[in-house]
Amino acid sequence: MTTVRDPQPDVTPQRVLIIGNGMATQRLLEALVTRPERPPEIHVFGDEGTPAYNRILLSPLLAGEVDEAAIGLRNRDWFEAHNITLHCGRRITAIDRTARQIIDDRDERHGYDHLIIATGSRARLFDLPGAELQSIHGFRTTGDVASLMAAGEHTRRAVVIGGGLLGLEAAEGLRKRGLEVTVVHRGAHLMNRQLDDRAAELLADELQGRGLTLRLERHPVAYESVNGTHVAGVRLDDGEHLEAGLVVVAAGIVPNAEPGFEAGLAGDRAIRVDDTLTTSDASVMALGECCEFERTTFGLVDPIWAQVEVMADRLCGGDRRYALTPSATRLKVSGVELYTFGLLAPEPGDEVLRYLDADHGDYRRLILRNNRLVGAVLYGDTRDGPWYFRQSVDQNDLSPCRDTLLFGATDAIQQLEEAA
């Protein structure tokens, strides 16, 4: 049976299938269920055994600060109540675009009018000697957390590869479990994609003060083992051997774009979408870390939430379009306040405002271009972060409040009012 299906977005698809059951999918469902025009039939396929959970809380989960129940987003009752079919523990192995069907790991086929790929990403692992050893993990799932917790039972030492957001969160989680943790980071300073050297130095001081060991400007060259099955250490490029019964690799993510690519969807590093979040197949959309838009891939929640807004609207017959927006970064390590956005280094002609109280762990650096905020790093006292961010997004002329700008919203607003 072949029927010509109308790909126009103003027609609400009847049967929508979603591959992937992560935070993006859940956010999309939340948005859809509030709207009467929602597609009547929605199926969600996830390869994890549980409904979606808040991946950002993996670090506190690992640290034992929260339990698994606390990070769960919705239980199965919620899906039933909203007439959404949830297929847990079901990996999709192939997409048959011609038949408009997807095939799961039980070889069952599921037909769709409209398919959404939201498969997320996975940790980028290194193809190093010994990569096959046990107790080398990523840090993306509750499964990873469970493995790390189990590994922690038989070793006191761990190495985390990667001193970015995720690596530091993992390292802090392990340290809080009582492990001796060394972070190996290729960059000259921690979080070098988000922080300038001064803020990174404060962060490093703080983390070292807590007991983390850092190896900066180093990278692993081999995983080593004593018994041939389990990892026992990491060899660094300078020859140093770090003893470790557990290795966490958190040095970047790889989009889970394979299901799309294998089905012939276009894309470079991830599944390409246009500003309607539609892939090269008009019946297939993609969302979140597995997609790319204007050569950009995604790892932070803010732009993905913006995608969710657009996608939910379009699935309900709307015509909103997605555009890249700036986003701010926060580090989710308890006791460390960090807020950063925009330009990481000033360009010629840019003006830099700085504040430093090193003993107290406070730092601010604002980059202005024509008196408009184009980048900020806040460390310590971050309460004014969202205000700065909004000034940056709105590109407000801040010259009237420049004398007080470093001291935050209240001072600056007051000066703006006085100047007005």
């Binding site: 989710k332 003006e351 700085r354 470093l406 001291f407 000066q415």
Partner: protein, 908 residues
């Protein structure tokens, strides 16, 4: 406990009530106005009410020092006695000079006068009153034959017309100003005329303001005399029976100023306004003309005073309620100094050297069984002549008491050089540092207000007790004690055998009545100053002495409110003298580059050289830096901007101050305050610009008219530095600075031409790198602070000249931060902003995406947000990454638990 005493500031002499705590010897709990004191009836000005804040032992001189080395009193007294003794033995008594002060109490003044003139044998005893009201004294003596202020304060209230000339009463005698204001509101018919080259705050009360050209006072009052004669408004009867010299005086007046048009032209004021003043004066009998330094501080000051008195004598407006020429003194006890004869041209107790029989009378009075005083036979050097005598080497020793002449004497730089040359300089003072102490060979620690015990006389001749309440700190001693002890060490003990201050007062009172017969004439011993009615008091009666106006004698046992009520003056023939006077131009005239006329004066909240008032931070708020008031046209011409630091200079010196552009100044004229000195600012002594020229009769310097050039200074940066009291001030690290004492720290305003690297500057100038700092490189803004164990050591803000103020925040809050043992985290984060957080406290951050604080969330839950969704709806918390949701749930649960608990308690 409460003790009634008197305020130590201006010549109004207000009574104050000092509240003190027996357990605290260093300061008073508070000071309020004394409702029972006739001078102020409970009122106080801002300086008086801040008296308690000027006390405390910090910054006080507490030990004698010789050549910078702390010594015992015995060593100090022996050194003073032996050094004075050897100079006297070698060069005679005349090689020794004393320079006293209207800050001394009458008893200190009396014993000092007796010591120098009677026993050291030098006539060279002068006082800072020379700078203040010497012309008033000379004018009174010429007109009345005695230094006699005819009026009392009540006269200001009962007058129909009050003329304020050369007096910014609102600022300099605020309580009299308040009394005048109250009287005017009670009597709408009362008129007030203000005559001044500047628009001052006093003008606010004026029915008529005459902004006369500087130095036109004599033309103004001569014009008045001409007008009165021309309009037939003279008191012919009074002139005929009680005066002499009228015809000459009128002739001189008519010759100089025949008519109103001439007067108006000479004074630079509108003729119609001038005639209004003349008409009011000429048609009223109850006229008080109140004058002060604006009249006195002139090379023609005495003539000015007599021009005023002439008009009063011609109109018969003297010796009546609400009438008379009323000189108001600047200092608390200038009058007391005049009474004891503590000026170079006086001998003692209203007797001059040339008064017939006076030398013999005083000699006999001061003679003891074994000591005969050796009084000099003629007057000594007045202040400016004294400096010259030191320059010439004639005066070898100078003892300065309770004053700061290196700041206050004109041509101050020359005075410094002279004093530096003087072989022996002794300074008695109550503060540890001032410009004069820096030049002293021997330093003697004196007691200060609230410690000193004795009497003072105010501008209406009212003698009041100033009571010793607190013990002097350390080794500080009363001035009378110091002089008595030096006298003893020099072998004059018998003549200085006082057991207490009341015995000195008793002797002073007895001398005033000694061979003083009211039935006699001034030539045969009669003196108006007679307080013999107060002689013979024991300690208890002296302590209980209530304020009383002299004369106090058998004829007037309860004192005398008003003089000359019977028109009997102190001249040999009993007639008041009109003096023929004519304007003479000021000696310091604009010349060449120094094209601007410079006026100097006081400001409302400071006193003299600020040694006391600057200790009360709130008195620094009104004007906190040295300044220059300038007319907009002159500012434009000199290329100086309002708020900039500018430079005044002439051949004598320079002065740096912040420009205040104001139309209160006439074009071509500037005003600067007299208070600032090396302790408070760089190059800010007004007297450095004033030539040492004076009135030939009174010796009073021409301080109200200097000549200067005004120019901008080139500075790149301006800074505000707050320094803890124990930190070292980096004064050499700037081209200009001013110090502003605050309660818990000191504020320095600084300026410089070369912009340094500020981090390095901090390390070099302040000894420590900043603990926290911020910078806006593009705007050249830099802020920094240094903390030591959480306590603020210093705070700094730097900006290009003219842009600093926007950076300063709330200096009062910063000052408070210096008082804290350790700054709490929120305060520390506000330190460089310079002000406390104005927003409400949001508590620890829970939602980091939207930066929502715990306290904000608690408030929202209390307001009914019972779910994570509701909180998200209201505050947006938890709606971004959601990682705070577990904590939000906990907060909701915890608050419910508390609420349930509360309910259970209620139900139980």
């Amino acid at each position: 406990m409460e003790t009634n005493t008197t305020c130590p500031y201006c010549g109004v002499g207000c009574g104050v009530v000092a509240q003190h705590d027996a357990g605290r010897g260093d300061t008073l709990a508070g000071v309020t106005g004394d409702k029972t004191h006739p001078a102020n009836e409970g009122r106080l000005c801002v300086k008086g009410s801040a008296l308690a804040q000027t006390l405390g032992h910090e910054g006080r001189l507490t030990h004698p020092r010789i050549d910078g080395v702390t010594v015992s009193w015995e060593t100090a007294l022996s050194a003073v006695a032996s050094r004075l003794g050897s100079i006297r033995a070698q060069h005679g008594g005349g090689a020794i000079a004393g320079y006293l002060s209207g800050q001394l109490l009458t008893e200190d003044y009396y014993i000092a006068n007796k010591f120098f003139k009677g026993f050291v044998g030098t006539p060279h005893v002068d006082t800072n009153s020379r700078l203040c009201m010497a012309s008033a004294v000379a004018g009174y003596k010429r007109a009345f034959g005695a230094d006699a202020v005819p009026c009392c304060y009540e006269d200001l209230e009962t007058a129909e017309l009050v003329v304020l000339t050369g007096s910014n009463l609102a600022w300099n005698h605020p309580v009299l100003y308040q009394r005048l204001r109250a009287a005017k509101s009670r009597n709408p018919l009362m008129r007030i005329v203000v005559i001044d080259p500047r628009v001052t705050d006093t003008c606010e009360l004026a029915d008529l303001f005459l902004q006369i050209a500087p130095g036109s006072d004599i033309a103004l009052f001569n014009g008045l005399l001409s007008y009165m004669a021309g309009k037939g408004r003279l008191d012919r009867d009074f002139i005929e029976h009680h005066t002499e010299g009228f015809d000459d005086a009128l002739a001189a007046a008519q010759q100089e100023v025949p008519d109103i048009a001439t007067a108006a032209e000479r004074c630079g004021v509108d003729a119609e306004r001038l005639e209004t003043f003349y008409y009011w004066f000429a048609t009223q009998l109850h006229v008080v003309t109140l004058y002060s330094q604006g009249i006195n501080q002139s090379s023609g000051g005495t003539d000015r005073v007599n021009a005023i008195i002439n008009a009063h004598l011609a109109g018969g407006s003297i010796g009546l309620p609400g009438a008379g020429p009323f000189s108001i003194t600047g200092q608390p006890n200038a009058m007391g100094g005049r009474e004891v004869g503590g000026l170079a041209n006086q001998l003692a107790a209203h007797m001059d050297y040339h008064t017939p029989g006076a030398l013999d009378r005083v000699t006999r009075f001061w003679t003891t069984p074994n000591l005969v005083p050796a009084l000099p036979d003629g007057p000594g050097h007045k202040a400016l002549a004294l400096v010259e005598a030191i320059e010439r080497g004639e005066v070898q020793a100078l003892w300065i008491m309770a004053t700061n002449p290196l700041v206050s004497l004109p041509d101050a730089n020359r005075v410094r050089a002279a004093i530096q040359k003087c072989p022996l300089v002794i300074v008695s003072d109550c503060v540890a540092r001032n410009d004069t102490l820096a030049y002293a060979d021997i330093v003697l620690p004196a007691s200060g207000w609230a410690e000193k015990d004795g009497t003072v006389t105010n501008s209406e001749r009212r003698i009041s007790r100033q009571r010793g309440i607190l013990p002097p700190p350390g080794e500080a001693r009363h001035d009378w004690w110091i002089i008595r002890e030096v006298a003893r060490h020099m072998g004059f003990g018998e003549a200085f055998d006082y057991q207490g201050v009341h015995e000195i007062f008793d002797e002073h009172a007895r001398l005033s009545g000694f061979e003083n017969d009211p039935q006699a004439t001034p030539d045969t011993g009669y003196r108006l100053f007679d307080i013999s009615g107060l002689a013979g008091m024991d300690r208890a009666r002296y302590d209980a002495l209530a304020p009383i106006q002299w004369p106090v004698n058998a004829d007037a046992p309860r004192g005398t409110a008003r003089l000359f009520e019977r028109a009997r003056f102190m001249t040999p023939n009993g007639r008041a003298r009109l003096i023929a006077v004519a304007s003479s131009p000021a000696i310091q005239q604009p010349d060449g580059e120094a094209r601007l006329v410079l006026n100097t004066g006081r400001i409302r909240d400071q006193w003299h050289t600020m040694t006391r008032t600057a200790r009360a931070p709130r008195l620094m708020h009104h004007r906190s830096e040295p300044f220059i008031e300038v007319h907009p046209e002159d500012a434009r011409h000199a290329s100086v901007q309002n708020g900039q630091i500018a430079r005044l200079h002439n051949t004598l010196g320079e002065y740096l101050g912040r420009v205040r552009v104001t139309t209160a100044q006439r074009r071509g004229e500037l005003f600067i305050p007299i208070h600032w000195n090396d302790q408070f600012a760089h190059q800010a002594r007004a007297s450095a610009l004033i030539a040492a020229v004076c009135d030939p009769l009174s010796g009073q310097p021409e301080s109200k008219q200097g000549r200067v050039a005004l120019s901008p200074i080139t500075a790149q940066w301006e800074a505000c530095l707050l320094l803890g009291h124990d930190a070292r001030a980096p004064l050499g690290e700037s081209d200009w600075w001013a110090r502003i004492p605050l309660t818990h720290c000191q504020r320095f305003q600084m300026m410089g031409e070369k912009t340094p690297d500020w981090m390095t500057w901090c390390e070099r100038a302040l000894g420590q790198v900043p603990t926290l700092w911020s910078e806006d490189h593009g705007r050249r803004h830099f802020r920094a602070a240094c903390l030591h164990k959480g306590r603020v050591v210093w705070w700094l803000a730097v900006a290009p000249v003219g842009t600093l103020n926007a950076m300063l925040g709330d200096v009062g809050w910063l000052d408070d931060c210096f008082a804290l043992e350790a700054l709490e985290s929120p305060q520390r984060r506000r330190l460089l902003a310079g002000r406390a957080a104005s927003g409400e406290d949001t508590g620890a951050t829970v939602c980091s995406c939207h930066q929502v604080g715990e306290k904000t969330i608690h408030r929202a839950i209390a307001d009914g947000c019972n779910s994570v969704e509701a909180l998200g709806e209201t505050l947006a918390c938890g709606t971004e990454c959601g990682s705070c949701i577990p904590e939000l749930k906990q907060l909701i649960a915890a608050q419910h638990a508390r609420r349930d608990e509360a309910t259970e308690q209620v139900s139980v």
